[in-house]
Protein backbone atom coordinates (compact mmCIF):
# COMPACT_ATOMS: atom_id res chain seq x y z
CA UNK A 1 0.00 0.00 0.00
CA UNK A 2 1.20 3.48 -0.79
CA UNK A 3 1.14 6.30 1.72
CA UNK A 4 -1.58 8.89 1.28
CA UNK A 5 -0.41 12.04 -0.46
CA UNK A 6 0.05 15.28 1.44
CA UNK A 7 -2.00 18.43 0.76
CA UNK A 8 -1.83 21.94 2.15
CA UNK A 9 -3.61 22.98 5.37
CA UNK A 10 -4.93 25.98 3.45
CA UNK A 11 -5.79 29.35 5.00
CA UNK A 12 -8.58 28.15 7.31
CA UNK A 13 -6.72 25.57 9.36
CA UNK A 14 -7.83 27.11 12.65
CA UNK A 15 -11.34 25.70 12.22
CA UNK A 16 -10.07 22.18 12.64
CA UNK A 17 -6.85 22.60 14.55
CA UNK A 18 -7.47 25.29 17.18
CA UNK A 19 -8.78 22.74 19.67
CA UNK A 20 -5.24 21.55 20.31
CA UNK A 21 -3.49 24.92 20.43
CA UNK A 22 -1.05 24.69 23.36
CA UNK A 23 1.63 27.31 23.79
CA UNK A 24 2.61 26.36 27.35
CA UNK A 25 4.09 22.93 28.05
CA UNK A 26 4.76 23.62 31.73
CA UNK A 27 2.88 21.55 34.27
CA UNK A 28 3.05 21.67 38.05
CA UNK A 29 6.06 19.75 39.29
CA UNK A 30 7.83 19.85 35.93
CA UNK A 31 11.58 19.89 36.46
CA UNK A 32 14.14 21.67 34.32
CA UNK A 33 15.18 25.05 33.02
CA UNK A 34 12.18 27.10 31.83
CA UNK A 35 12.55 28.66 28.40
CA UNK A 36 10.37 30.83 26.24
CA UNK A 37 11.02 30.39 22.54
CA UNK A 38 9.64 33.00 20.22
CA UNK A 39 10.11 33.89 16.62
CA UNK A 40 8.59 34.77 13.30
CA UNK A 41 7.68 32.70 10.26
CA UNK A 42 8.93 34.38 7.06
CA UNK A 43 8.45 33.58 3.36
CA UNK A 44 10.75 34.02 0.38
CA UNK A 45 9.95 37.72 0.13
CA UNK A 46 10.80 38.22 3.79
CA UNK A 47 7.09 38.79 4.45
CA UNK A 48 5.64 37.43 7.66
CA UNK A 49 3.31 34.44 7.35
CA UNK A 50 0.12 35.21 9.31
CA UNK A 51 -1.69 32.01 8.37
CA UNK A 52 0.77 29.37 9.49
CA UNK A 53 0.98 26.86 12.31
CA UNK A 54 3.97 25.59 14.27
CA UNK A 55 4.03 22.35 16.27
CA UNK A 56 6.76 21.15 18.62
CA UNK A 57 7.65 17.75 20.09
CA UNK A 58 10.23 17.37 22.83
CA UNK A 59 11.51 15.28 25.71
CA UNK A 60 11.43 16.45 29.33
CA UNK A 61 14.52 17.71 31.14
CA UNK A 62 15.57 14.11 31.82
CA UNK A 63 15.54 13.33 28.12
CA UNK A 64 12.42 11.19 28.37
CA UNK A 65 9.59 11.36 25.83
CA UNK A 66 5.98 11.22 27.01
CA UNK A 67 5.31 8.28 24.71
CA UNK A 68 5.04 4.64 25.86
CA UNK A 69 7.44 3.78 23.02
CA UNK A 70 10.17 5.42 25.11
CA UNK A 71 10.68 2.62 27.63
CA UNK A 72 13.89 3.89 29.20
CA UNK A 73 13.90 4.09 32.99
CA UNK A 74 13.95 7.88 33.30
CA UNK A 75 11.65 10.14 35.32
CA UNK A 76 8.51 11.35 33.56
CA UNK A 77 6.43 13.97 35.35
CA UNK A 78 2.68 13.40 35.44
CA UNK A 79 0.91 15.70 33.02
CA UNK A 80 3.94 16.43 30.82
CA UNK A 81 3.07 15.70 27.19
CA UNK A 82 5.88 17.29 25.23
CA UNK A 83 3.57 18.56 22.48
CA UNK A 84 2.85 22.15 21.55
CA UNK A 85 0.93 23.80 18.72
CA UNK A 86 0.31 27.45 17.94
CA UNK A 87 -0.96 29.44 15.01
CA UNK A 88 1.20 32.33 13.85
CA UNK A 89 -0.36 35.71 14.63
CA UNK A 90 -0.95 38.65 12.26
CA UNK A 91 2.77 39.49 12.54
CA UNK A 92 3.86 35.94 11.76
CA UNK A 93 4.84 35.42 15.40
CA UNK A 94 4.76 32.23 17.42
CA UNK A 95 5.78 31.61 21.02
CA UNK A 96 6.15 28.55 23.26
CA UNK A 97 6.81 28.34 26.99
CA UNK A 98 8.52 25.09 27.92
CA UNK A 99 11.64 23.60 29.52
CA UNK A 100 14.95 22.85 27.89
CA UNK A 101 14.83 19.14 27.04
CA UNK A 102 17.45 16.69 28.22
CA UNK A 103 19.69 14.74 25.88
CA UNK A 104 18.27 11.72 24.10
CA UNK A 105 20.20 9.03 22.24
CA UNK A 106 20.77 9.06 18.50
CA UNK A 107 21.02 6.13 16.11
CA UNK A 108 24.32 4.92 17.49
CA UNK A 109 23.22 5.23 21.11
CA UNK A 110 25.39 8.30 21.70
CA UNK A 111 23.60 11.28 23.17
CA UNK A 112 22.30 13.99 20.86
CA UNK A 113 22.46 17.65 21.83
CA UNK A 114 19.27 18.94 23.50
CA UNK A 115 16.77 19.69 20.76
CA UNK A 116 13.10 20.29 20.04
CA UNK A 117 11.44 18.92 16.90
CA UNK A 118 9.36 21.35 14.87
CA UNK A 119 6.68 20.89 12.21
CA UNK A 120 5.65 23.86 10.08
CA UNK A 121 2.36 24.17 8.17
CA UNK A 122 0.82 27.04 6.19
CA UNK A 123 -1.26 27.97 3.18
CA UNK A 124 0.95 27.53 0.15
CA UNK A 125 2.94 24.74 1.76
CA UNK A 126 1.93 21.44 0.23
CA UNK A 127 3.55 19.19 2.85
CA UNK A 128 4.88 19.59 6.36
CA UNK A 129 8.34 21.10 6.85
CA UNK A 130 10.34 19.46 9.65
CA UNK A 131 13.22 21.10 11.48
CA UNK A 132 14.88 21.26 14.91
CA UNK A 133 15.63 23.89 17.53
CA UNK A 134 18.99 23.62 19.32
CA UNK A 135 20.05 25.70 22.31
CA UNK A 136 22.51 28.60 22.49
CA UNK A 137 24.68 27.12 25.27
CA UNK A 138 26.19 24.77 22.71
CA UNK A 139 25.82 21.68 24.92
CA UNK A 140 26.58 18.64 22.78
CA UNK A 141 26.59 20.49 19.47
CA UNK A 142 30.06 19.36 18.40
CA UNK A 143 29.10 15.68 18.51
CA UNK A 144 25.47 15.91 17.50
CA UNK A 145 24.86 13.46 14.66
CA UNK A 146 22.10 15.53 13.08
CA UNK A 147 23.83 18.93 13.30
CA UNK A 148 26.84 17.28 11.72
CA UNK A 149 24.79 16.36 8.66
CA UNK A 150 24.25 20.08 8.05
CA UNK A 151 26.85 22.17 6.19
CA UNK A 152 28.66 24.23 8.85
CA UNK A 153 27.57 27.55 7.33
CA UNK A 154 23.87 26.63 7.65
CA UNK A 155 23.87 25.26 11.21
CA UNK A 156 23.21 28.62 12.83
CA UNK A 157 19.64 28.56 11.48
CA UNK A 158 18.91 25.67 13.85
CA UNK A 159 20.22 27.36 17.00
CA UNK A 160 18.05 29.68 19.07
CA UNK A 161 19.57 32.98 20.26
CA UNK A 162 19.45 34.24 23.80
CA UNK A 163 17.63 37.58 24.00
CA UNK A 164 19.69 40.16 25.89
CA UNK A 165 18.30 41.08 29.29
CA UNK A 166 16.40 37.85 29.84
CA UNK A 167 17.51 34.50 31.19
CA UNK A 168 14.68 32.50 29.78
CA UNK A 169 13.80 34.17 26.47
CA UNK A 170 15.15 32.65 23.27
CA UNK A 171 14.59 33.85 19.72
CA UNK A 172 14.36 31.40 16.86
CA UNK A 173 12.95 32.33 13.45
CA UNK A 174 11.77 30.16 10.61
CA UNK A 175 12.76 31.36 7.14
CA UNK A 176 11.00 29.15 4.62
CA UNK A 177 12.93 30.39 1.60
CA UNK A 178 16.12 32.35 1.00
CA UNK A 179 15.71 35.50 -1.08
CA UNK A 180 16.48 39.17 -1.52
CA UNK A 181 15.56 39.70 2.14
CA UNK A 182 18.99 38.35 3.03
CA UNK A 183 17.94 36.04 5.88
CA UNK A 184 19.43 32.56 5.80
CA UNK A 185 16.96 29.86 4.87
CA UNK A 186 16.20 27.56 7.80
CA UNK A 187 17.53 24.04 7.42
CA UNK A 188 14.68 21.56 6.91
CA UNK A 189 15.04 17.81 7.21
CA UNK A 190 13.72 14.82 5.34
CA UNK A 191 12.84 12.78 8.40
Amino acid sequence: MEMTGSQTVGPFLHIGLAGLYRDNLLTSGLEGEPVVIEGRLLDGDGEVVPDGMVEIWQANSHGRYADPLDTRQLPLEAGFRGFGRVATDANGRFRFTTVKPGRVPGQDGKLQAPHILVSVFMRGLIKRLATRIYFPDGEGHADDPVLNLVPAERRATLIAHRVAGSDALLEWNIVVQAGAHGYDETVFFDV
Binding site: M1, E2, M3, T4, G5, S6, Q7, T8, V9, G10, P11, F12, L13, H14, I15, G16, L17, A18, G19, L20, D43, G44, D45, E47, V49, D51, W57, Y65, A66, D67, L69, D70, R81, V104, P105, G106, Q107, G109, H115, L117, S119, R123, G124, L125, I126, K127, R128, L129, P145, V146, R154, V176, Q177, A178, T186, V187, F188, F189, D190, V191
Partner: protein, 234 residues
Protein backbone atom coordinates in the same frame (compact mmCIF):
# COMPACT_ATOMS: atom_id res chain seq x y z
CA UNK B 1 20.40 0.90 22.40
CA UNK B 2 19.59 -1.20 19.38
CA UNK B 3 19.43 0.48 16.03
CA UNK B 4 16.03 2.09 15.61
CA UNK B 5 13.78 0.71 12.90
CA UNK B 6 13.16 3.39 10.31
CA UNK B 7 9.84 4.57 8.91
CA UNK B 8 9.77 3.92 5.19
CA UNK B 9 9.85 6.83 2.78
CA UNK B 10 7.16 7.30 0.13
CA UNK B 11 7.52 5.89 -3.39
CA UNK B 12 8.70 8.38 -6.04
CA UNK B 13 6.03 10.75 -7.40
CA UNK B 14 3.42 9.76 -4.81
CA UNK B 15 3.96 12.97 -2.80
CA UNK B 16 3.95 16.54 -4.13
CA UNK B 17 7.09 18.62 -4.45
CA UNK B 18 7.25 21.72 -2.27
CA UNK B 19 7.32 24.00 -5.30
CA UNK B 20 4.37 23.47 -7.64
CA UNK B 21 4.45 25.73 -10.71
CA UNK B 22 0.68 26.01 -11.06
CA UNK B 23 0.00 26.51 -7.31
CA UNK B 24 1.21 30.09 -7.05
CA UNK B 25 1.48 30.39 -3.28
CA UNK B 26 4.12 27.65 -3.20
CA UNK B 27 6.57 29.87 -5.11
CA UNK B 28 7.50 31.91 -2.04
CA UNK B 29 6.60 29.31 0.55
CA UNK B 30 8.83 26.43 -0.50
CA UNK B 31 12.46 25.92 0.53
CA UNK B 32 15.08 26.62 -2.14
CA UNK B 33 17.57 24.16 -0.65
CA UNK B 34 16.90 20.43 -0.82
CA UNK B 35 15.86 18.85 2.47
CA UNK B 36 18.68 17.25 4.44
CA UNK B 37 18.11 13.52 4.67
CA UNK B 38 18.58 12.26 8.22
CA UNK B 39 18.17 8.95 10.03
CA UNK B 40 15.25 8.80 12.42
CA UNK B 41 16.29 8.85 16.07
CA UNK B 42 14.19 8.26 19.17
CA UNK B 43 12.96 11.84 18.70
CA UNK B 44 11.42 11.12 15.29
CA UNK B 45 9.96 7.68 16.05
CA UNK B 46 8.10 8.88 19.13
CA UNK B 47 5.21 11.32 19.04
CA UNK B 48 2.43 12.91 21.05
CA UNK B 49 -0.14 10.56 22.52
CA UNK B 50 -3.78 11.66 22.40
CA UNK B 51 -6.69 10.08 24.18
CA UNK B 52 -10.28 10.44 25.19
CA UNK B 53 -9.43 13.50 27.26
CA UNK B 54 -8.55 15.36 24.05
CA UNK B 55 -11.97 14.91 22.48
CA UNK B 56 -15.55 15.21 23.59
CA UNK B 57 -18.50 13.02 22.78
CA UNK B 58 -20.05 14.32 19.59
CA UNK B 59 -16.89 15.91 18.21
CA UNK B 60 -17.24 13.62 15.19
CA UNK B 61 -20.79 14.79 14.44
CA UNK B 62 -20.62 18.15 12.67
CA UNK B 63 -24.40 18.20 12.29
CA UNK B 64 -24.95 18.68 16.02
CA UNK B 65 -22.72 21.53 17.09
CA UNK B 66 -25.53 24.12 17.12
CA UNK B 67 -29.18 24.34 18.05
CA UNK B 68 -30.44 23.76 14.51
CA UNK B 69 -29.61 21.55 11.55
CA UNK B 70 -27.03 22.78 9.04
CA UNK B 71 -28.13 23.16 5.44
CA UNK B 72 -26.81 20.82 2.81
CA UNK B 73 -26.49 17.20 1.83
CA UNK B 74 -25.85 15.08 4.93
CA UNK B 75 -22.97 12.62 4.54
CA UNK B 76 -21.19 9.96 6.59
CA UNK B 77 -17.43 9.94 5.98
CA UNK B 78 -15.73 6.86 7.32
CA UNK B 79 -12.69 4.74 6.66
CA UNK B 80 -9.66 3.07 8.11
CA UNK B 81 -6.23 4.41 8.99
CA UNK B 82 -3.42 1.91 8.46
CA UNK B 83 0.29 1.87 7.83
CA UNK B 84 1.68 0.96 4.42
CA UNK B 85 1.52 -2.77 5.25
CA UNK B 86 -2.14 -2.54 6.11
CA UNK B 87 -1.72 -2.65 9.88
CA UNK B 88 -4.43 -0.62 11.61
CA UNK B 89 -3.44 2.49 13.54
CA UNK B 90 -5.58 2.30 16.65
CA UNK B 91 -6.60 5.16 18.95
CA UNK B 92 -5.02 7.72 16.64
CA UNK B 93 -6.23 11.32 16.48
CA UNK B 94 -7.90 12.70 13.33
CA UNK B 95 -8.88 16.36 13.00
CA UNK B 96 -10.99 17.64 10.08
CA UNK B 97 -12.22 20.99 8.81
CA UNK B 98 -14.30 22.07 5.83
CA UNK B 99 -16.46 24.72 4.17
CA UNK B 100 -20.23 24.69 4.54
CA UNK B 101 -22.61 23.51 1.83
CA UNK B 102 -22.39 26.89 0.08
CA UNK B 103 -18.60 26.78 -0.09
CA UNK B 104 -17.94 29.24 2.73
CA UNK B 105 -15.66 28.73 5.73
CA UNK B 106 -16.54 30.10 9.13
CA UNK B 107 -13.33 32.12 9.22
CA UNK B 108 -12.59 35.83 9.30
CA UNK B 109 -10.25 35.51 6.31
CA UNK B 110 -12.82 33.88 4.05
CA UNK B 111 -14.20 36.74 1.91
CA UNK B 112 -16.22 34.58 -0.48
CA UNK B 113 -19.71 36.08 -0.65
CA UNK B 114 -21.53 32.76 -0.25
CA UNK B 115 -23.72 32.61 2.88
CA UNK B 116 -22.55 31.45 6.26
CA UNK B 117 -24.66 28.83 7.98
CA UNK B 118 -25.37 29.68 11.63
CA UNK B 119 -25.72 25.97 12.34
CA UNK B 120 -22.41 24.85 10.89
CA UNK B 121 -18.89 25.40 12.21
CA UNK B 122 -17.07 22.84 10.06
CA UNK B 123 -14.52 21.42 12.50
CA UNK B 124 -14.42 17.92 13.99
CA UNK B 125 -12.14 15.39 15.61
CA UNK B 126 -12.14 11.77 16.60
CA UNK B 127 -9.94 8.87 17.63
CA UNK B 128 -9.69 5.75 15.49
CA UNK B 129 -11.00 2.60 17.16
CA UNK B 130 -9.00 -0.58 17.86
CA UNK B 131 -9.22 -1.50 14.14
CA UNK B 132 -8.09 1.91 12.95
CA UNK B 133 -11.60 2.85 11.84
CA UNK B 134 -13.14 6.31 12.13
CA UNK B 135 -16.48 7.91 11.27
CA UNK B 136 -17.65 11.50 10.88
CA UNK B 137 -21.14 12.78 10.16
CA UNK B 138 -21.24 16.13 8.35
CA UNK B 139 -22.59 17.88 5.27
CA UNK B 140 -21.03 17.80 1.83
CA UNK B 141 -18.90 20.93 1.47
CA UNK B 142 -19.42 23.22 -1.50
CA UNK B 143 -16.83 24.19 -4.10
CA UNK B 144 -15.50 27.73 -3.77
CA UNK B 145 -13.42 30.22 -5.76
CA UNK B 146 -9.86 31.16 -4.87
CA UNK B 147 -7.35 33.61 -6.24
CA UNK B 148 -4.71 31.30 -7.68
CA UNK B 149 -5.61 32.12 -11.31
CA UNK B 150 -8.55 33.49 -13.29
CA UNK B 151 -11.80 31.65 -12.48
CA UNK B 152 -10.05 29.23 -10.13
CA UNK B 153 -12.35 26.98 -8.08
CA UNK B 154 -11.38 24.43 -5.46
CA UNK B 155 -13.14 21.09 -5.81
CA UNK B 156 -15.24 20.14 -2.78
CA UNK B 157 -12.91 18.77 -0.11
CA UNK B 158 -12.49 18.01 3.58
CA UNK B 159 -9.14 18.71 5.26
CA UNK B 160 -7.72 15.83 7.33
CA UNK B 161 -4.91 16.09 9.90
CA UNK B 162 -3.37 12.92 11.35
CA UNK B 163 -0.55 12.19 13.75
CA UNK B 164 -0.06 8.43 13.63
CA UNK B 165 2.37 6.96 16.15
CA UNK B 166 5.40 9.19 15.56
CA UNK B 167 6.70 12.62 14.63
CA UNK B 168 7.75 10.95 11.36
CA UNK B 169 4.19 9.89 10.50
CA UNK B 170 2.51 13.31 10.72
CA UNK B 171 0.26 13.95 7.71
CA UNK B 172 -2.15 16.66 6.58
CA UNK B 173 -4.18 15.91 3.47
CA UNK B 174 -7.52 16.60 1.77
CA UNK B 175 -10.32 14.22 0.86
CA UNK B 176 -12.18 14.81 -2.41
CA UNK B 177 -15.47 13.50 -3.83
CA UNK B 178 -15.91 11.10 -6.75
CA UNK B 179 -16.90 12.60 -10.09
CA UNK B 180 -16.01 16.18 -9.22
CA UNK B 181 -15.35 17.98 -12.55
CA UNK B 182 -13.08 20.52 -10.83
CA UNK B 183 -10.42 17.94 -9.91
CA UNK B 184 -8.87 18.02 -13.39
CA UNK B 185 -8.23 21.77 -13.01
CA UNK B 186 -7.11 21.99 -9.39
CA UNK B 187 -3.41 22.76 -8.89
CA UNK B 188 -3.47 21.45 -5.33
CA UNK B 189 -4.95 18.08 -6.26
CA UNK B 190 -2.70 17.92 -9.36
CA UNK B 191 0.40 18.65 -7.27
CA UNK B 192 0.75 14.90 -6.70
CA UNK B 193 2.49 13.72 -9.87
CA UNK B 194 1.41 10.07 -9.90
CA UNK B 195 -2.17 9.70 -11.15
CA UNK B 196 -2.98 6.66 -9.02
CA UNK B 197 -1.57 8.33 -5.92
CA UNK B 198 -3.75 11.36 -6.67
CA UNK B 199 -6.86 9.27 -7.11
CA UNK B 200 -6.39 7.79 -3.65
CA UNK B 201 -7.39 11.19 -2.29
CA UNK B 202 -10.84 10.75 -3.85
CA UNK B 203 -13.34 9.09 -1.52
CA UNK B 204 -15.61 6.34 -2.82
CA UNK B 205 -19.38 6.35 -2.62
CA UNK B 206 -20.22 3.86 0.13
CA UNK B 207 -23.60 2.06 0.16
CA UNK B 208 -22.65 0.22 3.34
CA UNK B 209 -22.48 3.45 5.29
CA UNK B 210 -25.34 5.19 3.55
CA UNK B 211 -28.02 5.68 6.20
CA UNK B 212 -31.56 5.18 4.85
CA UNK B 213 -33.58 8.40 4.80
CA UNK B 214 -30.69 10.32 6.35
CA UNK B 215 -27.21 10.50 4.78
CA UNK B 216 -25.02 9.33 1.91
CA UNK B 217 -21.86 7.39 2.77
CA UNK B 218 -18.36 8.13 1.50
CA UNK B 219 -15.32 6.00 2.29
CA UNK B 220 -11.83 7.43 2.67
CA UNK B 221 -9.00 5.15 3.80
CA UNK B 222 -5.74 6.76 4.85
CA UNK B 223 -2.28 5.19 4.76
CA UNK B 224 0.55 6.53 6.92
CA UNK B 225 4.21 5.57 6.84
CA UNK B 226 5.07 2.23 8.40
CA UNK B 227 8.21 0.54 9.61
CA UNK B 228 9.37 -2.91 10.47
CA UNK B 229 8.53 -3.70 14.05
CA UNK B 230 11.70 -3.78 16.07
CA UNK B 231 11.22 -3.46 19.80
CA UNK B 232 13.04 -0.51 21.25
CA UNK B 233 15.54 -1.52 23.88
CA UNK B 234 16.40 0.32 27.03
Amino acid sequence: MAEIAQYRRPAPNTQPEYRCESYMSTHKRSPSHPLILMPQTLSEVTGPVFGLNDIQAGDNDLLRQHSGDPLGERIVVSGRVTDDRGRPLAHSLIEIWQANAAGRYLHKNDQHNAPLDPNFTGGGRTLTDADGCYRFTTIKPGAYPWRNHFNAWRPAHIHFSLFGPAFATRLVTQMYFPGDPLLDFDPIYLSIPDEKARQRLISRFDWDNTVPDHALGFRFDIVLRGRDATPMEA
